[in-house]
């Protein structure tokens, strides 16, 4: 067994959170640059230029790229040969998030769902753990803004709706979101599994680098076709009409029940912030 003190995880989360808050992922920046270069809509191009300038400003001044520094979503793949020691894992993660949001001058955006009282330190973080082979811990850190999260949807399709049903659901979600989630968006899609795992697959999909494709050719085909149809919607950057409504579509899948075809569509805004580290 490899022993890992959760203090090591806390410190890693702290570093990842600080970096994520002020930097877009390189794949997101590349996709935005490409979209800006090819944009034919004047107002949409102004929007894309502003977004790229903003990313440079945020990096130079070390200030949050977006004021919605998000809910901290962490996916932790823990090798089953790892033995965790020290404080409770959730507490370690929350302590890392709490320190980063204070030291980074990030907005604290987590509140009670009923009273709406702010928890004051952006905790608790959303922590997903998966037990995998090996003696390492792979951490994915994704601060998720809610302008885009609010526009996400979950469909319980009939098996007969098949691939066309999946693609229509993805495109419909982006169409209904319109200008509100900060397009151009990055669309994460979960296909299959159960009601709950399907939504988690969609979240995992947006943790993938923009522009990557699913190794399964039929799934990659869904990604390409959905992206094509989304960009035909002409919503464009900020809803100002243009060629780039989405930067990419990523699908993740899991086996499902013979009676169902769950499809979850998780919308990520153009500020894709995601860090990956291995301990």
């Amino acid at each position: 067994m490899r022993k890992i003190d959760t203090k090591t995880i806390e410190n890693k989360i702290y570093e990842m959170a600080l970096h994520a808050g002020v930097n877009l992922t390189p794949s997101c920046t590349a996709a935005l640059e490409n979209a800006c270069e090819n944009e034919s809509g004047a107002a949409a191009k102004f929007g894309l230029e502003t977004i790229l300038k903003n990313a440079r400003t945020a990096n130079e001044m070390q200030m949050p790229v977006c004021q919605d520094t998000g809910m901290a979503v962490i996916i932790m793949e823990i090798g089953q040969e790892v033995c965790l020691e020290g404080k409770l894992l959730q507490k370690a993660v929350d302590d890392g998030v709490c320190r980063a949001y204070a030291d980074g001058y990030f907005r604290k955006s987590v509140c009670d769902p009923i009273t709406r009282a702010n928890t004051g330190d952006n905790t608790p973080a959303v922590l997903h753990t998966e037990i995998v082979a090996g003696d390492k811990i792979k951490i994915t850190y994704l601060p998720k803004g809610f302008g885009s999260e609010n526009m996400s949807r979950l469909y319980m399709l009939k098996p007969a709706q098949g691939v066309e049903g999946i693609i229509s659901s993805i495109v419909e979600t982006v169409r209904l979101a319109g200008s509100r989630p900060c397009p151009p968006v990055y669309v994460g899609v979960g296909i299959g599994g159960s009601f709950d795992t399907c939504a988690f697959l969609a979240k995992k999909a947006i943790a993938r680098d923009v522009g990557t494709q699913n190794p399964r050719e039929d799934i990659a085909g869904i990604e390409r076709e959905a992206l094509k149809r989304i960009n035909e919607l002409n919503i464009g950057c900020q809803g100002f009409h243009g060629d780039a409504t989405a930067l990419g579509v990523s699908c993740e899948w899991a086996p499902t029940h013979i009676a169902g075809l769950p499809v979850a569509v998780n919308i990520q805004c153009h500020c894709v912030r995601c860090e990956k580290e291995v301990i």
């Binding site: 977004i51 903003n54 200030m63 977006c66 702010n118 509100r180 900060c182 900020q238 100002f240 805004c269």
Partner: protein
Amino acid sequence: MKKLTLPLSSKDIMGLTAGESVLLSGVILTARDCAHKRIFEYIKEGKQLPFEIKGSIIYYAGPCPAKPGMASGSCGPTTSARMDSFAPALLDMGLCGMIGKGEMSNEVREAIKRNTGVYFAAIGGAGAIYGNAIKKSECIAFADLLSEAVYRLEVEDFPAVVAYDCKGNSIY
């Protein structure tokens, strides 16, 4: 790009067309979900609001805390549609306009037309640029709401696009 100084006159507003880019300088007030709820509780109870609605421009935003030496932290717009149910009544009370991101309801568009108001779209996700356009920031109401409190911001060359003009046109 057209430069506008706040507060806007009726003449300024009537000269704006949906789709045009502008740079705003002057005073704006932040208010988002919780602040709007609070404002309407005050109105319902007949209590005096701690700031003037008439002639003001509300910015749908909740800033990050300011770093030492800076007036504001990152401060881009939030999704305006969540304030759809509040905006028409405020416009009827004399609110000059709003700044936010994304479409608002037809009722809001009608209220803008009826009151010769305006809705500006700021570029969502450009928080650092907007934070730097803020030269002074002061919490003037509902401090307990933290980032959702009402802040009085003095902005300089704040980039925005006219989303709904007073003639009923829309960029969306």
